[in-house]
Amino acid sequence: MVNRVLVIDDDRALSEMLGIVLRAEGFDVDFCERGDTAFAAFRSSEPNVVLLDLMLPGRDGVEVCRQIRTESGVPIVMLTAKGDTVDVVTGLEAGADDYVVKPFKPKELIARLKACLRRPVTTQNEALRVGDLAIDASAHTVTRDGVLISLTPLEFDLLLAMARQPWQAFSREKLLSDVWGYQHPGDARLVSVHVQRLRAKIEKDPNDPQIVVTVRGVGYKVNSG
């Protein structure tokens, strides 16, 4: 199966270069140069992963990210020129899975893309219960009282990783390597932001989380009781 990457970037030279590098790695590549046409391009391309620049003509990258998230959980990696905290966090909050800071090395980008695509695919029939949530690992679904809760694959993986070992506290670094596939220490904010997003979907009161609880000084754990 050939993985398709949708590159949404207004810089033609960079897009072309990305195309060369990605094709050399065996990816199929589609391009889009404008923010306002990005969503249409996404629908027609049906990519396995999206590379999204934050500064786009027509529509802001964060907006595009939010729009894609309304109907798809496909992995989104942001390309950001600024290492600014605010930009990275807004991007992650809009639903991006990961980000790379320009100028990045091709190897680094490929590693991130592959990590996104390599997400643990569960084949065995595994059904877990966490609190009042029912997790079906093979069907990739989470339900509460029979009502489906829509999670992105990343959010699902995050929940599943913790739900498999309830009561065990996971450090942010451990989650980064287990869920994101980071080999080296990465940005712990990735975990924090996505835990927030996950809580917003599965907790009855996200301000007083009962399922994914914070373990002070360590990280997070799932409260199965």
Binding site: D11, L14, M55, P103, P106
Partner: protein
Amino acid sequence: MNPLKIWRRSLQTRVVVTTTIASTLAVVVFGFLLVQVISSGVIDSKTRLSVSEAAIARDEAVRVVAAADTLSASLSEEALVDTVVSAVALRAGEPSVYDVLLLGAGAATNAENGARVPERGTNLVTEASVPTQLREALKESNRQAWQFSEIEFLDGVSQPGLVVGAPLEIPSIGRYDLYLLFPFTQEAETITLVRNATVGAGALLVGVLTLIAAFVTRQVVSPVRRVASVARELQRGNLAQRLRVQGEDDLASLAVSFNEMATDIEAQIRRLEEMSSLQQRFVSDVSHELRTPLTTVRMAADVLFQERSSLPPEAARSAELLAAQLDRFEDLLVNLLEISKVDSGAATLDSVDMDLLEVTESVVDSLQALAKRANVTLQLEGGPCPVTADRRRVERIVRNLVSNAIDHGDGRPVEITVACDSEGVALMVRDHGPGLVGDAPDRVFDRFWRGDPSRARTTGGTGLGLAIAREDARLHDGWLHAANAPDGGACFRLSLPNTPGGRLSRSAVSMPNAQELVRA
């Protein structure tokens, strides 16, 4: 509240209390002098009056004695004395201004028969009212004399008064002393009245002065307090705060000047803020505009580098150089942006709880390969040193100091010491290379300054490393010091307070040569 605190804090209290104390002192002194002058005036005139009255009375007595002597020698001693006393007493009027005592002088016995001479008085005063001193004085001088004394009445009452005495010769009996006793009842009352009035008026005056002081200082102090409160508001960043201007007096002109100053400061701050945000915006734009093409170049170089085996030798070498120099270019860009961020005041600390030893260990681990290439061994010693700081920045400082030491260590070991005390943590990196030569100690933290241009650079630093390290240390309110060790080699020391903003008075690690210390 503590009275001492109120005294120190409130100008108004101080002024009012000072005024009250000073005016009380003044009123007491003036009142005392006033009462003194009035009473001595009253007593003096009464005394003069009394003395001349006494002289006249004595003349009368002399006249009566002479008349009695010539007219009726048959009068008994008692009768004669009675006549004299009543004649003198008659002059006293009704109510009498004085009482009379006619006492025998000298031996007080009849010269002829030795019997006790008869003594008379107006029967209201006791003999004890006449002070002995006065009697002695009369005996010696034989002239009129007077003295203030307590006049004791027979009914037990006593009053201050004047006793005037004069000798009186009664030829048939002997020598007498005629005493007139003037009670100063009226005068004492007058003086008491004056004293009471003075005390009352003084107290009232002090009270009024206190109120006036309170009122006046309030007029001055309350605008000052308003200025102070507005100044506090301004200091808190509420730049639009202004004083209300009333009238045209000095305080109004203070308010006007203050408002002008506030307006100037506000404009200045706004301008600086604008400049700073413009600068930040520029940095951010440059960053974005540069990074995108740089990313493309980077990827292109990487592709060429991967394919270098299939390129002709010159092109292959060019691809290698391109890739290597791009790393440096990137480092330089990152450092420039970092410095620019600090300069525009946009740099912020992302503080976390961390351990300096652990950070140093990880930096040392990551630099082992570089050290090995330079044939340098890294020796790290020290215990866990917990500190709240920006991990990325601290890591950058440590990496900088250690890689510099490797670079300039001449293949000799580099010693790294980590320690902490109650105030903060410190790290010292010491190499055994040539040390800081020439103007190096002064310039080592300058931007783009390089130690020895002729030296080979293995790490290809950007020339901004120590300048950034200095800014990073400053952001933490920490220190960065450089010095030469006495036995050669350079020493760099980083000292950080336990939490950013904490105060350092000493470093947890001491430098080998404190004299040459250069503080960044």
